[in-house]
Amino acid sequence: MKHESARGHVTGSAIYTDEQRVPERVLRLYPVQAKLAHARILGIDASAALAMPGVLHVLTARDVPGVNDTGPILHDEPLIPADEVSYHGQALAWVVAEDEEIARRAAARVRVELEPLPAILSIDAAIAAQRFHLPPSRIVHGDVDAALSAAPHRLSGEVRSGAQDHFYLETHSSWAYVDVDGLVQVTSSTQHPSETQATVAHVLGLPANRVVCRCLRMGGGFGGKETQANAFAALAALAATLTGRPAGIQLPRSLDMQLTGKRHPFLGRFEVGFDDDGRLLGLRADLVSDGGWSCDLSPPVLLRALVHIDNAYHYPAAEITGRIAKTHLPSNTAFRGFGGPQGMLIGEEILDRVARHLGLPPHLVRERNFYAEGQLTPYGQPVDDSEIRPVWDEVRRLAGFDMRWTERAAFNAASTDRKRGLAITPVKFGISFNKTEYNQAGALVHLYTDGSVQLNHGGTEMGQGLHTKMIVVAARSLGIDPARIRVMPTATDKVPNTSATAASSGADMNGQAVRAACETLKARLADVAAARLACAATDIEFADDQARFAGDPARAIGFVDLVRAAYAARVSLSATGYYRTPVIHWDPVALRGHPFYYFAYGAAVAEVEVDGRTGVHRLLRVDIVHDVGHSLAEAIDLGQIEGGFVQGLGWLSCEEVVHGQDGRLLTDAPSTYKIPTVKDVPEAFSVHLHERTKAPRAQVIGGSKAVGEPPLMLALAVREALRDAVAAFGQGGAVELASPATPEAIYRAIRQAQGRPLS
């Protein structure tokens, strides 16, 4: 099954938010930005801007008719700040003008008077000032003190991971107008139309039923459009209500990078106890994320880091604490993996340090610590239906790992200034939103009398192929040709109160809702068919664009005829479907429970060659085995795995977010912020869907497993391979490698390993 929009993509005819035809010219918004990271706002003088031809309005905090807040969890995020600047580049006012050019020039004429205040610009500074969002979160499992003090070996360490810009190719985009009925119609590149609708209503002081939010498709999201789209939609809606004309924002790349949050940087400190064989006995870990100026989604991101630090490894006792630093930087947000990658990076660091401490091969220590069936995670969920071992063994065999382990040692013995590194790492990733109430979904399916089908569901399409998978689900359920089905733009007036398309759960949850709607329709159609074919409704099966009597396939009625007959018999041809994920529960105070419906598994082998003279590396080969259950659409799942891996590779190697001493983002364009290109992806890159011997136990849609986020963490194999190569330059012992492992970071690690650190 091809992506439902593939033809539109390649011909350029697929339309995105900013490209729709609208009846009137759309006004454009452009921000007036703060040039300090923290300050008191003394005054804003927009008179010079307002005097310019083509300028209609300059939005400030005073213009907000409802509540000046867009915070999704805490109400700490003014849409337009009234009295305080919270980060460098923050928008203090928005010019509304006939076009972007005028708005931009007018914005430069708005005079802002600020009184500088001291700014906190790093996790360390926040810790020193004890500035955190919310009290600490703590997972406690067993008696850690006892476990650590009884452990034959103990070591402690620290590791940091860097921020990551989403760099979706389509920047944030929203436009809005007030229609003739006074409804506020918003089109937004949002992963969460229901929340965007709610935010717009809240800001405008309107009930939710006066606002409709639509999303056609996005040019990438990756979590960056989960909450961050809300403010831009609200600004466009505000401008539209104030001027009575359609108004919109499409952020230029540098503004998108300056104004929106990134993947949370993390600082992890750990103390781990283990035995002579490297078996883990106890872990105490303390994680601090950089939340930025407002809370946004930082608490659930932190939580997901806390519950993924274990990755595939069993700790008999653990105490894992997390805090969110409050800094004067943009508010960090969801990003594919949602804290999971940051937790697992720390987890893999620990495993490697344990192995090197004992002088054992890291892969040996890793596999010794895999969860055995039924063992408990630190948060109390049993790991059952585990595929860690099969996936690991499969990739190890396919990659020829054992032979290459020896070969790389031989290479390194013969080469002084270039070394090779090889590593294998597993991924175990929990599927479901930690917050139980988000685990529900809805769908609305219409059959028309010509046999065509309109499919509405709560998920949004951002390239992950969700719409395509939903077509597969509906076509399978109704037994019809997928070509009959058209997926409609996601809209809050079709399917209300939806959850974000996030947490890899889009296909799982919306798929079940779509199926439920289709099953309802099928039951109604079966009655009609049974009457026609003179059999029991329970004996009707739907396949090949027909309904037929199971006992005699020759007794059949075509799908179009059946729909017409149902219409004639006055049977409803429209149905909703609803789904809530079973089994899961979570105690948000004790941080214990069964938050995940199931785990996704994968493993990767990576080999690198590092140039000791420059720290530049080449990724030589990657092998991946990933468990997607029974794939709904193989090409799409492979694409998610490959794309996720490369995105993880960028986070761990070339993508570096750098702020100046004044808090200004220095890497606000692709000329300074480097995501991987085709040249960073090795020719030798093989991806296998895990061949399961049994179906997943969880009742997942079509037996398929979520695939959006987990593969990103497969890229940790590259980081560990780099570490293996760096180690080969030294004399053994811990290898401290910064993340991202840029050429400079690798070079520094090599010098460190050689005992001649670069000052």
Partner: protein, 475 residues
């Protein structure tokens, strides 16, 4: 057809009412030709890639529409993604991307389609051509593998008989002069210089890969622009036995093709200089015009003792590359002068170029280095040129270390002494690309690498230029 017309997908379009400084990308999107996307507006993502016909040949070239000012377009031909499919039938490039699942969100896809369509039409996909064709296109969704697969499939397919191919078989008509508002495109050097005398505030503009970034960000030249990309004299490329004369307006992609094998250090550097779309437009004259401390070709010109030919209203003069750069973005070129050509001697010693960046492909240098060494029969250093970019306010030679090397025997001791001196030769800055300490270290490490990799490989005999030539002929 008026003289502000250009051909878009084969159809004439008038630019009479257009702002010459507006980018082709913005103009297309304003007309609701939204297949061409904006991912950055800076020339770095390739989402805006279109095909531009180079009259010599003619050949199609993939270029960034976000960097191309409308003023450069009158008389030219452009093809966009909208012009590829014929009715319901997809172009082979489009079909290949559909078949390999090469699009996910689809936003980057039209750019890839155009890069591949051009490379396919021009027969450039063979060998390593697949990656080279798409290295200037970023995709955040796919991880590139299906797109690379599509490219490899296309490499084996016959070229489509489409509009692109037909036009390519057409006549090679040189471009006439043009003028769109305050954007003039003369065809002779004399006209260009006269235009500048008439409008002293006007800026020269060649490939617009530097100027276009500023225009795309809304900056406007106060005194208009004089484009140099239609002047035949700036397009010369004379490969002589002792020297090569490179016209200031020759696109770097052409240098990469036509000078392959002539200058080892240039062969080392050009693959890492920007990406295909930029190299199809960027010029050596523009690199000298910007005179950026991280301009990658300036260290090369310094190391090779190149000579820059300038022309102004008062006549012509030559200026050694050494001495051309006076300070941060300050050069010995007078404002009313332009660079006509650069003469680069073919020395034949041992030379190599290195570039280290955060991401190796299409990134600005942290440090670039070009080295040239000649040794005499007694393995003593007869000549040394050690030129760097990224370590000071200008590209520079490490003169003290060059002097230190002179007359010394080339051995492990000498190499290490020089490397250590190089590590202390400059006081670079910390910035978002790298720390000063790393830059200093690279100054020495790259030299060590040069010694190991190139000098050693040159046979251990440490040949002089003439010996090297003889040895090559003998082998």
């Amino acid at each position: 057809m008026d003289d502000t017309t250009f051909l878009l997908n084969g159809e004439p379009r008038s630019l009479a009412a257009a702002d010459p400084n507006q980018s082709l990308l913005r103009w297309l999107r304003g007309l609701r030709l939204t297949g061409t996307k904006e991912g950055c507006g800076d020339g770095d993502c390739g989402a805006c890639t279109v095909a531009l016909l180079e009259p010599a040949g003619p050949h199609w070239r993939a270029v960034n529409a976000c960097l191309l000012p409308l003023g450069a377009l009158p008389g030219r031909e452009v093809w966009t993604v909208e012009g590829l499919a014929s009715g319901d039938r997809l172009h082979p490039v489009q079909q290949a991307l559909v078949d390999t699942a090469g699009s996910q969100c689809g936003y980057c896809t039209p750019g890839f389609v155009m890069s591949l369509a051009v490379a396919h039409a021009e027969g450039e996909l063979a060998g390593h051509g697949c990656d080279a064709a798409i290295e200037g296109n970023l995709c955040r969704c796919t991880g590139y593998r299906p797109i690379r697969k599509a490219a490899q499939r296309l490499a084996a397919e016959p070229v489509a008989e489409d509009g692109l191919a037909r036009r390519r078989q057409g006549p090679a008509a040189p471009l006439a002069g043009a003028c769109l508002g305050a954007f003039e495109s003369p065809t002779t050097l004399a006209d260009a210089l006269a235009a500048k005398v008439a409008r002293p505030q006007a800026q020269w503009i060649a490939g617009a890969t530097d100027v276009g970034v500023a225009l795309s960000r809304g900056e406007r030249p106060a005194g208009g622009s004089i484009a140099l990309d239609r002047i035949a004299e700036l397009q010369v490329l004379e490969i002589g036995a002792d020297a090569v004369r490179i016209g200031a307006g020759v696109p770097l992609a052409r240098l990469e093709r036509e000078l392959a094998g002539v200058f080892p250090a240039l062969d080392d550097l050009l693959p890492w200089f920007a990406a295909r779309q930029v190299k199809n437009r960027a010029t050596l004259g523009g690199n000298l015009g910007s005179a950026s401390p991280i301009g990658d070709l300036l260290p090369w010109l310094l190391a090779l003792d190149a000579v820059i030919e300038l022309a102004g209203p008062g006549g012509r003069r030559v200026q050694p590359a050494d001495g051309y750069i006076l300070g941060y973005r300050k050069t010995a070129r007078q404002d009313e002068e332009l660079v006509v050509a650069v003469r680069v001697p073919r020395h034949g010693g041992i030379e190599a170029g290195y570039k280290v960046a955060k991401r190796q492909a299409d990134d600005i240098s942290i440090v670039a280095a070009v080295y040239r060494i000649e040794l005499d029969d007694a393995r003593r250093v007869r000549l040394a040129r050690l030129a760097y970019g990224g370590v000071a306010a200008t590209p520079v030679r490490a003169r003290a270390v060059e002097d230190l090397l002179l007359g010394r025997e080339w051995n492990a001791d000498t190499i290490e002494t020089a490397a250590q001196s190089l590590e202390a030769a400059f006081t670079p800055l910390d910035d978002h690309r790298a720390s000063a300490a790393y830059r200093r270290a690279l100054c020495g490490e790259l030299f060590r690498r040069f010694a190991e990799e190139r000098v050693q490989r040159a046979g251990g005999a440490f040949l002089s230029a003439k010996d090297a030539k003889n040895a090559k002929e003998a082998s």
